[in-house]
Amino acid sequence: MKYAFWPGCVALGGTPELYQSTKLVLNKLGIEVEELTNATCTGAGVLQEKNRKLGDTLNVRTFAQAEEMGLPIMTICSTCQGTMAQAQLAVIKDDGYLADINADLADEGLEYHGDTVTKHFLWILVEEYGLENLKKHFVRDLSGLKFAPFYGCYLIRPSDALGFAEVPERETSLEQVIESTGAEVVDFKGSKACCGLPILFINQGNSLKMVATHTGTAKDLGADAMVTPCPLCHLNLDGYQGKAAKKNRSSAIDLPILHLPQMLGLAMGFTPKELGMNKHMVSTSRLSEQVASPAGV
């Protein structure tokens, strides 16, 4: 299995532990990747609010690069995945629009024909790699631990761009992967809600209320950690959880937020440090002890 790998700006920036743990886990799984080092930011919906065509053009530019490589794209960010899926839908249903965009890419010698498939690592695990194959790499049983899923808006909405009608298992993919490790899924209302990051710098009060509500609810339901396939959610849920708790709750929340590959890495026997869990803002030491304890082995 080989993919053109687009880590996204945040895995290359504010959440280096996501990049680090992804590389370890992919290597263990025998999934080969070639990084798209010349791809741009997807726009994350922000660029699109200013100029949708510019956002689509930059994403089509990335699709064209992967098409030249003859590889499907793997993403590790819900926001990248969703934004790219929206761009793909826009160009495949409108040949004129695609031709228009291709004209802007001609200077760089790029042309997109519409054939690049872009999938989040989470979807690849469920749809292509297979959970039974995945489980063969697990050496540590995580049963006894409870993980709350947190998808990130762009991996859930808009459903028409994300192919849920064609591939319904995508809607429950995160729960399925959590269960494959032996851990219990915490069923909670916030799993498909907004983390609040897009308004962190605009209306911080509301953003922090969202963080406090989702992490606090999961914690109150007994979660040992939250697991997310979206590094942007991680930035807010981990980075601002302490501040959110202070402003909105009488007690601390202290819920570790794991990137999806970190959870897989724990089940594969990597140490928390190898997975970059020491780089989190919310302490992961209690979770690390739980994982290392004899009951967890």
Binding site: A39, T40, A193, F201, K209
Partner: protein
């Protein structure tokens, strides 16, 4: 001619329905389970009406046209807002399962599935949902070319059912947010070529609890039964507000910083995005962000404030500039 035999499949459906009636002394809401015989063509509304007519006459719900025109019957089905007259029961329920029905969210409940829409209408009124033309009054109608009106067809489909408001993730934490329905309605007039108050309207929407408070979570787009796309309208109004000169908000600075970063380097500069969104001269704002920034620095994960340039940054810059030129 042979007789055709039609068979109607009847099965038992299990519904878990939100109940609350303070007038009969309910101290708090509770769920009531119903078993009702349904046929395969039933909508969720058909099942609810059958419960009310044949099993429990005390169940309150709103509905009128039963044909997704009047907008009376939006409520939550399995946690997500739906127009229940438009929702086939078998699209949300399979035999053996239970379907849960709640009143619409983000509104006070009057009784059972009936919510108080007063806050909803107050916010719609707040955006002055009527034409405010300027200039001399024409002798007949105000005329507008077709091509200037066609793009408004989608937003004019709004039936004010409140599904988007019910599920808005911002309203869940902040009741003051004007919300997707009122903003979609505002767009309907902002974008109407016959209206003369575009700048004033955008000025008001640019304030607190307005266009910049939307998180872009797309829940309103997902649940709208009429494809009004409230969030897309909000995004257009953000850009128009900036174009009209309303550039002094964190939101406007956030967008500007984001676009500039991609123009310079092809990638997002997260550290500059934080600083520039707050406003470089906004000292209290910068101080409020400092503790998390310092902690990230100590953890070795504060992204460099220098740009993360891609090899073909010059080509990308050209694409961005060309696109900005043609969109003007």
């Amino acid at each position: 001619m042979p007789e055709t035999e039609t068979t109607v499949k009847t099965v038992t459906a299990n519904l878990k329905v939100y109940r609350y009636d303070p007038e009969v002394g309910d101290a708090k809401p509770y769920y009531q389970d119903y078993e009702v015989e349904v046929e395969d063509w039933f909508t969720v509304l058909d099942a609810l009406i059958k419960i009310r007519e044949e099993i429990d006459g005390t169940l309150s719900l709103r509905c009128a046209c039963r044909a997704s025109i009047c907008g009376s019957c939006a409520m939550k089905v399995n946690g997500e807002a739906k127009l229940v007259c438009k929702t086939k029961l078998d699209s949300v329920w399979s035999p053996g399962e239970t379907v849960t029905v709640d009143p619409p969210g983000n509104m006070p409940v009057i009784t059972d599935l009936v919510a108080d829409f007063k806050p909803f209408w107050d916010k719609v009124r707040q955006v002055k949902p009527y034409m405010q033309p300027t200039g001399p009054v024409p002798t007949a109608e105000y005329l507008a070319p077709n091509e200037d009106m066609v793009h408004l067809a989608g937003v004019m489909n709004c039936i004010m059912c409140g599904a988007c408001v019910s599920d808005c993730t911002v309203l869940e934490v902040d009741k003051s947010f004007i919300g997707p329905a009122a903003l979609a309605k505002a767009y309907r007039f902002v974008a109407d070529p016959r209206d003369g108050k575009k700048k004033e309207r955008l000025g008001e929407l640019n304030g607190d609890a307005g266009i910049w408070d939307c998180t872009r979570c797309m829940q309103c787009v997902e649940v709208c039964p009429k494809d009004v796309d409230p969030m897309e309208r909000i995004m257009v109004m953000r850009d128009q507000a900036i174009e009209e000169g309303y550039t002094g908000t964190s939101g406007a600075r956030h967008t500007e910083s984001f676009v500039n970063s991609v123009r310079r380097s092809g990638r997002l500069n997260e550290t500059r995005l934080a600083i520039e969104s707050m406003g470089v001269m906004n000292i209290p704002g910068q101080i409020s962000m400092a503790p998390v920034g310092i902690k990230a620095l100590l953890k070795g994960k504060l992204p460099s404030p220098l740009d993360h340039k891609i090899p073909s940054k010059a080509a990308v810059k050209k694409i961005v500039e060309k696109s900005e030129e043609t969109s003007k």
